[in-house]
């Protein structure tokens, strides 16, 4: 009896061990067929294809590249182009679109954890891509790519660190954030384009008296209401020439600047007077065209594609029914330009660098740029020499009306753009009455100093 037990247990032990060995032996076999291990092989095949016949549509199977971007950055037209790209190359693009108020946190967490997507979107900006994004560590140097020569020089400068280009512009940076207004409402109420803040307030009062909400604002997205402040940089610069340089050299503080205090007080005043309506805290940016088309709102902060976007939602609303003027807070009359915008970067530790490079090359081709310009209403001129232009008369007239231009502060001033979300929380705290303009500015100064110190900026250390 005892003996048979022993024999049985020996059998069982051997069987168990065998099953373990079988499992562990089986694994490599199984995994060799998995997409993960197929990837390096496929990408090496891609690079071989590159060197042998540039531009040839050598099909790569089983490669999926991930592209993570904030909401509103990847246009529907780009996703359609992505499908075309897959057809031509066999490389599938998995677009991961993240709500805008969560994007920066998520991207930075992924990059800091060493688990970045193959391609990621980020705003350009020569200071921020170096200090915040750390492109030298996190992104692939794209300087030798075929499309680099076509990129607009100003746009390329905002994507370069130490002479190396790390990103590819994905949006139109010629557009500016301005007040878009419903021409019909303005005409019927006899309102002229405001040139000062008091004109602007008077216009809002007139509109509100008619039961129309003067301004559509959307705080819940976390980024849009923030625009009102740094986009007014040119106003501060006009009042205090050299302010941006002094801020960058730690010789000035925002809290000491009168224009900035004024801008923030006026933001608060507009909301308090009801010019932003009742639901500005919960409105959504994505609903702007839909709401604007209803005629219940007269103005909003938008770039020059809004007319076309509204026209898409409601064909009765003509593209040229939307006009533009600069945000007249602090009596600003300087056109607020920004050579920076959302851009594509390739993650340095990506296993699919070659496939990702192919995607970027595809997106910068003549036909893709043409397709994007034709199909994305807010794209008038992408920052490439081989991209077509489609400025309408309204937009040309708008740009011509403001001969003086100035760069917005999120680009001109260091350590401002990376704290966009926090700045947004501060401004919404201002709107809720939890903070005063002075406190908002002090918080911004404090975060700038913290970031400068951690980045070992000589002006702060």
């Amino acid at each position: 009896m005892k003996k048979s037990f022993r024999v049985l247990s020996a059998f069982l032990t051997v069987g168990m061990l065998a099953s373990f060995t079988a499992c562990s032996g089986g694994n490599p076999m199984a995994s060799s067929n998995s997409p993960a291990s197929a990837t390096p092989a496929a990408s090496s095949q891609a690079s071989a294809g590159d060197s042998s016949a540039a531009g040839s549509a050598a099909k790569q199977e089983n490669v999926t590249i991930t592209f993570m971007a904030s909401q509103d950055w990847v246009q529907d037209a780009e996703i359609k182009l992505g499908a075309e790209f897959e057809k031509q190359t066999g490389i599938k693009v998995d677009y991961q679109i993240i709500p805008s108020n969560q994007y920066t946190s998520l991207l930075m967490t992924k990059l800091n954890a060493g688990e970045g997507p193959d391609i990621f979107g980020n705003q350009s900006g020569r200071f921020d891509i170096q200090t915040q994004l750390n492109v030298e560590k996190n992104a692939v140097d794209l300087s030798s790519e075929s499309w680099v020569g076509n990129v607009d020089k100003d746009a390329a400068a905002e994507l370069s660190v130490n002479g190396k280009l790390y990103g590819q512009p994905m949006g139109d940076v010629s557009a500016v954030w301005a007040i878009a207004y419903n021409k019909n409402i303005f005409k019927s109420l006899g309102i002229e384009i405001p040139k000062t803040y008091s004109d602007f307030k008077a216009a809002c009062a007139k509109i509100k008296a008619k039961g129309i909400t003067p301004i559509y604002e959307c705080v819940s997205d976390g980024w849009h209401h923030t625009l009102w402040f740094p986009e007014m940089g040119p106003a501060a610069e006009t009042a205090t020439p050299g302010l941006a340089d002094n801020l960058n050299n730690n010789k000035a503080k925002m809290a000491d600047n009168q224009t900035m205090q004024t801008v923030l007080s006026q933001i608060k005043e507009m909301a308090t007077l009801g010019y932003w309506g009742d639901n500005y805290m919960s409105n959504k940016y994505a609903d702007t065209p839909k709401n604007f088309a209803t005629g219940k709102y007269a103005m909003t902060v938008a770039n020059q594609g809004l007319g076309a976007d509204i026209n898409k939602v409601d064909p009765k609303f003509k593209v040229d029914d939307v006009g533009y003027f600069v945000i007249p807070l602090a009596d600003n009359q300087t056109l607020n330009v920004n050579p920076c915008g959302p851009s594509r970067f390739i993650y340095k530790n990506s296993k699919n660098v070659d496939a990702a490079k192919k995607y970027l090359e595809f997106m910068a081709s003549d036909s893709s740029l043409k397709y994007l310009t034709e199909n994305v209403s807010k794209f008038n001129k992408l920052p490439y020499s081989n991209a077509p232009s489609k400025y309408s008369d309204t937009i040309k007239e708008f740009y011509a009306r403001y001969p003086k231009t100035g760069t917005v502060y999120q680009t001109a001033v260091k350590y401002l753009n990376p704290q966009w979300t926090e700045m947004g929380s501060d401004i919404s705290a201002l709107l809720l009455g939890e903070e005063k303009p002075n406190e908002v500015l002090k918080n911004i100064d404090k975060r700038r100093a913290e970031q400068a110190k951690t980045a070992k900026d000589p002006a702060w250390n």
Partner: protein, 292 residues
């Protein structure tokens, strides 16, 4: 069976080793890191003493608010989930029609993903187009229609309410199991003695349910202190500055900003809270346990 037989100590080594490597060691390392200037901007680590803790407790930062928010969330949700869960459990152990259907309905929110629930509720609680305010406005109850998630007055309460709604079913289920395990003979004896329903509840159900309630309290407290996804999906700490910011949303933001050291310092402070709370809860819970 020999009750005096004690198993040798080395039987626990495997479990202890795993526990140490996976839980204790990272915990201690985390506390260690909170005394350094660890950040995403530098590869070097320098010892900075209590600098990060000073930041956490300094008056011009709102980390104290974050800690109190987390504790407030824990206390409120624990009490209400237990109280409402108990009420539901008592009701749903009576002889009523469609008993299991009712139980199922109340339990249902619990199986949904928190993020999805959060997103659905941001839409339901939208002040202009949301289902709730539309309902109030269309039934003449317009004065109840409030900006639920967009004012500091209502935001935190709304988040807690949704979390209670979602977690209620789970607590109720545990309490139903507790109630059903109480022998019906007690109730029979009580009714013979002329006890009414309320008396039976306070003299029989509640005392015998205390161990179960202790379990649900522990579960709720741990859940509350670790809350992240519900707040993240509904308000992401807003509106304004840290109105609904809780520990883990703050730590998440700090890590994404590359401020690892302050983030770990904040977690360490919370860890201390959890250890103290946990210690006392275990003491209270095991007080009446009989050792065989």
């Amino acid at each position: 069976m020999n009750k005096n037989k004690t198993y040798p100590f080395y039987f626990t080594i495997g479990a202890l080793l795993l526990y140490t490597v996976l839980f204790v060691l990272p915990g201690i390392m985390g506390i260690g890191y909170s005394f350094t200037d660890w950040s995403a901007y530098s590869d070097k680590l320098n010892f900075v003493g209590f600098e990060n803790f000073k930041t956490v407790f300094s008056a011009d930062e709102n980390y104290i608010k974050i800690l109190t928010n987390t504790l407030l969330f824990t206390v409120v949700t624990t009490i209400l989930k237990n109280a409402l869960g108990l009420l539901m459990a008592v009701l749903l152990t009576k002889h009523i029609k469609f008993l299991n259907f009712h139980r199922g309905i109340i339990f249902m929110p619990n199986v949904l993903s928190t993020l999805i629930v959060g997103m659905i509720f941001t839409s339901i609680l939208d002040p202009a187009t949301g289902l709730l305010n539309t309902f109030f406005n269309s039934t003449g109850l317009g004065f109840f229609a409030k900006p639920w998630l967009t004012t500091s007055q209502f935001a935190f309460g709304s988040v807690m309410a949704v979390d209670i709604w979602k977690g209620l079913g789970y607590i109720m289920t545990i309490l139903i199991a507790g109630i059903l395990s109480i022998s019906p003979t007690y109730y029979e004896a009580a009714s013979i003695d002329g006890a009414n329903g309320v008396q039976a509840f306070f003299k029989i159900t509640l005392p015998l349910l205390l161990p179960t309630l202790a379990t649900t309290t522990v579960l709720n407290v741990i859940y509350g202190l670790k809350i992240f996804d519900m707040v993240y999906a509904m308000t992401n700490g807003g509106p304004g500055k840290a109105t609904t910011e809780v520990l883990y949303t703050a730590v998440f933001k700090m890590f994404s900003n590359g401020q690892y050291a302050v983030g770990t310092a904040l977690s360490s402070v919370m860890f201390l809270f959890m250890v103290v709370i946990g210690f006392f809860m275990i003491r209270v819970m095991t007080k009446n346990e009989v050792v065989e």
